[in-house]
Amino acid sequence: MTQILDFRNVDLFYDHVHALRGVSLSVNQGETVALIGANGAGKSSILRAITGLRRIRSGEIHYDGQRIDGRNPADLVKAGIAMVPEGRRVFPYMTVKDNLLMGAFTRTDKAGIAQSLEMVLTRFPRLKERYGQAAGTMSGGEQQMMVIGRALMAKPRLLLLDEPSLGVAPKLVQDIARSIVAINRDENVSVLLVEQNSRMALRISQRAYALTTGVVALSGNSSDLLSDERVKSLYLGGEL
């Protein structure tokens, strides 16, 4: 199986905070991989490193067979890496339409952009109803759908999702989980999913990594981890 992402032995710092300590992980072509861990474990830092938002201190990041650490975010968007950031980060005073079009900022193929827009609006019909509305006035769940749609507008081959269930009404979490599965299946895109909602993440992914204070503590098949006693007590809150 070919790897689309290979994250090798990466160290990352914020001033003196050593946020990632020799982290290695990979995503295979077509896979959904979950990344779980407590607050401050370093999950978002991994995504920031991949997208070029934050420089790594040492280690290597390979995407699609090429080394990408040190390249700037705009380059990586063009190469096919899209990210849905933590906290959604909509453009609050732009309409849903303009937000979605921003997702296609690096693209120039008009017909292709129109196609992607059509696909996003079919996938999230709610966005069609809100099309001309300022994004900041929508509910958390609607905003989450929009930023997933916005990321898809880049026509990515690797989609990074940072806690898409955060701040979303419980009954919508199901919907979002289903969309992630469908996107992974239909759009030829591999997914790296960061979640605090570990149970949901393990259910919809094939493999998973569990992170503790900047170190990969556990990894394996998601179904195995779901029934692993250590995972249950540490990441699933015991109940089941």
Partner: protein, 288 residues
């Protein structure tokens, strides 16, 4: 009454143009550009030289003002503000830098152009006198050009790719980066554009009010008042602030004339009360 409105609109259009440049720079990089008035003055002197002294067409002179200031603004962003923002996380660092550039420009302008008030030949002769309004044609021309530039700017921000990139940057820098917006490039374009607006307005206005090296500071103060009224970082706020200040000035000069030179005293007092009630201005949100 009609006369007061006509004067207010004329003043408002040029003020709004100055405020737009200032608010663009603020919205994009959180920098309060204290040198904005000096940029206006520099634009004025360039038009004075190109049109008034070299005798080239007025349009060419104003374009020269715009282009020069765009270059100056671009260089300031690239070599001064960008470096300071990268090295310092304290907001006052850029404020101090902006103040320093204002003093620097003041000194350079004084050195190069002297302290005399400078004017240029009228661009159009004659006076419009109808419907109870007396307004020289050149003011009408300048007012209309300013209005067209304002509309052009709005269209640019709304419908072009760089415009959308800058709005996105102002609303959420990180998200814009994740969309593939080259932050450095568009921040520089924005700063250049803001400086250009100041330069063009200075160039236009030299044909009416003339220019002298001492007015940079006062112009900056007016520009800051406008974005305080409208709300910093908002396009519609800058425009509203410009026209409101223009109108207040026009009304004040007529109504308060008999009390002496108190218009701005009254405006300042009103602004302080207004800000204590609505500290974010009329439309205190970034980039609607």
């Amino acid at each position: 009454m009609e006369q007061v409105i006509a004067n207010g609109l004329y003043l408002g259009a040029q003020y709004a143009l100055v405020a737009l440049g200032l608010t663009l720079i603020f919205g994009l990089m959180n920098v309060l550009n204290f040198a904005h008035g000096q940029m206006y003055v520099l634009g004025g002197f360039i038009t004075y030289v190109v049109y008034g002294q070299l005798g080239l067409p007025f349009v060419v002179a104003v374009l020269a003002s715009g282009v020069t200031l765009a270059v100056v603004g671009g260089l300031m962003e690239r070599y001064l503000f960008r470096t300071v923002i990268k090295r310092s996380h304290r907001e006052e660092s850029t404020m101090l830098l902006a103040a320093a550039t204002a003093f620097f420009f003041d000194a350079v302008i004084l050195l190069v152009f002297g302290e005399k008030q400078r004017g240029v030949p009228k661009i159009v002769k004659g006076v419009f006198n109808d419907f109870g309004v007396i307004l020289p044609y050149d003011r009408i021309v300048v007012g209309l050009v300013a209005a067209v530039l304002i509309l052009g700017f709005i269209a640019f921000m709304k419908f072009t790719k760089p415009g959308r990139a800058m709005r996105a940057l102002a609303q959420d820098r990180t998200a814009a980066q994740l969309m593939g917006v080259e932050v450095d490039r568009y921040t520089m374009i924005g700063f250049a554009l803001g400086a250009m607006l100041a330069g063009v307005t200075g160039g236009l206005l030299v044909s009416i009010t003339g220019v002298n090296s001492g007015i940079g500071g006062p112009i900056s103060i007016k520009a800051f008042m406008m974005i305080m009224i409208g709300g910093a970082g908002v396009v519609s706020g800058a425009i509203a602030g410009g026209f409101i200040l223009g109108m207040m000035e026009s009304v004040g000069l007529t109504v308060l004339r008999e009390y002496g030179d108190v218009t701005y005293l009254v405006i300042f007092a009103a602004l302080m009360i207004f800000l204590s009630i609505r500290p974010n201005g009329l439309m205190g949100k970034p980039w609607g």
